[in-house]
Amino acid sequence: MSIILEVNNLNTRFDTPEGEVSAANNINFTLQKGQSLGVVGESGSGKTQIFMAIMGLLAKNGRTSGEAIFKGQNLLGLPVVELNKVRGVSLSMIFQDPMTSLNPYLKVSRQMTEVLIEHQGLDKESALERSIRMLELVGIPEARKRVHMYPHEFSGGMRQRVMIAIALLCEPDLLIADEPTTALDVTIQAQILELLHSLKEEMGMSIVMITHDLGVIAGMCDHVMVMYGGRVVETGTVHEIFNDARHPYTQGLLQSMPRIDGNHNEDLYAIPGQPPNLQALPSGCAFQPRCQYADAQCRSTQPEPAALSQHRMIACHHITVAKDLIPAMESA
């Protein structure tokens, strides 16, 4: 298997009037061709900003360092002209809010064909044909007719399908999906996830699934990366994360999921405290104020990421302790 995306020591910062804010620190991961990675974290954990940086879509006050090697080419710091040979071609991204992510003033046909015309030099007719076929592939009924409509004439779920179709026009090697289902109804969510899953199998592409929903990850991903306060706190295969979570935050996330086999009378667990404010992170480990294992060391020093295996990493001063304490925590 070959590596499709390798991120080394990526940092993202924003200049604000209140000073510099770090959105993502020291991010390292690799993604194999055809595999999918789930990136989990609360809003403000920096999970989206990593991929905005890779796509060159950071806000103007954002800066990035490190490298993101996509198919042998470092995308960070690439001039826009060069980046545009990658974006929308071999690397695509879809966003959280399909209601606002399509241009309301242009027909869907225009928003689709322009990609093919720009990147593959197709003429209008063949670009339109390809677009219609792609719409059919993502399950839009009457695609031939609907391609000439405006986005507001589509429902939310249909718009997200259109977004996916646009992203897949040039058959990318990697699709970054930033909370693609958060803004949709539950039943539609499942449909979209299923669609992404089948498209991934069909086209053999890799997917990065950014989400705050572990349920999404479980059904889709091979690997998981858990983020908190702008840092990666735990990585592993989906199996490892769900069955052998070591970081207290990951454990908390898992516990706050409703379980089918659990006791239905039990209250849903919630991680105490509030998500961190990136502008005023606590000293030491960012999770320390909400962590029941926190001690003096946690409050003073940032835990270094420790690799357990090639794909398994945890950043916690209490890795062993934490594992031992899982039963105790559940009974508490």
Binding site: T16, P17, E42, S43, G44, N61, T181, T182, V186, Q189, A190, L193, H212, D213, L214, G215, V216, A218, G219, F242, L253, L254, S256, M257, P258, R259, I260, D261, L268, A270, I271, G273, Q274, P275, N277
Partner: protein, 308 residues
């Protein structure tokens, strides 16, 4: 797998609640302080406030700042250039009156018109907008349709007709200009009221039996204050400009009272031979308008910093 393999939004809801609670607390604690800090960081706005304060003080203390009364005619000094030995710092006009003190008296009229007319527009606009927004439905529809109609009227002409008919009384200027400028204010207030009305805390107040009047004044008014203050700051220069426009046409305040518009009009006629007569009042007017606009922009950025 024992866990739900289907997306669940309960955890998402829990996390989002936490996130929102966090945002709310931060916002609630320091919205106004934050705004003030941001405003103070805006150099243009701060300098504008200082300059405006100086102009206001000059206007208030005008009679004591110059040895010359504003309406005294100096027959030996008809239209002389600025002259420090005689105390005519800005020169004199074609009637031999001291331009410095007249410019400051003009400032009195212009600033007063700006403030009073804006207050009039504020009262009309806020009441109208709040009522329309709060009532909603057909009442709102009807009221806003009326505003739309008024928007398409050439208001200035009616003000001019008013001035012609009822004479150029300063009180009339206040009312007429205020009555012209309230439309946008009404729209802003209505929009804000509608948005806030939908928020939970208003519903909560309703549910706990707080009276409508109390809801409007205790909950809605404080929340629409921000946009209203911003728009007010931008209305003041608008009104000052309009008054000057009327005065320039000869329809503003009457002799011996004066305003910047009157002085500019007189100055423009003789600008070749006596450029100071145009330069000083025009500079004062322009600087004042600059300042109000900078403060208005600064306030807007401070209260709604999303653009940064």
């Amino acid at each position: 797998m024992s866990l739900l393999a289907k997306p669940n939004d309960r955890m998402a809801a829990v996390l989002d609640q936490q996130a929102e609670a966090c945002i709310d607390e931060i916002a609630g604690r320091s919205l106004w302080q934050d705004a003030r800090i941001r405003l103070m960081r805006n150099k243009a706005a701060v300098v504008s406030m200082i300059i405006l304060t100086i102009i206001t003080l000059l206007a208030i203390f005008a009679p004591w700042l110059s040895s010359h009364p504003f309406d005294e005619v100096y027959w030996d000094f008809i239209q002389v250039a600025p002259n420090f030995s005689e105390g005519f710092w800005f020169g004199t006009d074609e009637n031999g009156r001291d331009l410095f003190v007249r410019t400051l008296y003009g400032a009195r009229v212009s600033l007063m018109v700006g403030l009073v007319a804006t207050t009039v527009s504020l009262i009309i606009g806020v009441t109208y907008g709040a009522v329309a927004g709060y009532m909603g439905g057909r009442v709102d529809n009807l009221m806003m349709r009326f505003v739309d109609i008024l928007y398409s009227l050439p208001f200035m002409f009616f003000v001019i007709i008013l001035m012609v008919i009822f004479g150029r009384h300063i009180f009339l200027i206040f009312v007429a200009l205020g009555a012209v400028e309230w439309l946008t204010m009404a729209r802003i207030v209505r929009g804000q009221t509608m948005a806030i009305k939908k928020k939970e805390f208003i519903e909560a107040a309703h549910a706990s039996g707080v009276s409508t009047t109390k809801i409007i004044f205790r909950h809605i008014v404080p929340n629409i204050l921000g946009p209203v203050i911003v728009y007010m700051t931008l209305t003041i220069p608008q009104v000052i400009l309009t008054e000057s426009f009327l005065s320039f046409l000869g329809l503003g305040v009457q002799e011996p009272l004066t305003s910047w518009g009157v002085l500019i009009s007189e100055g423009a006629k003789v600008m070749e031979s006596a450029p100071w007569m145009l330069a000083f009042p025009a500079t004062f007017l322009a600087v004042t308008l600059f300042c109000f606009n900078f403060i208005g922009d600064g306030l807007r950025d401070a209260l709604d910093p999303k653009d940064r």
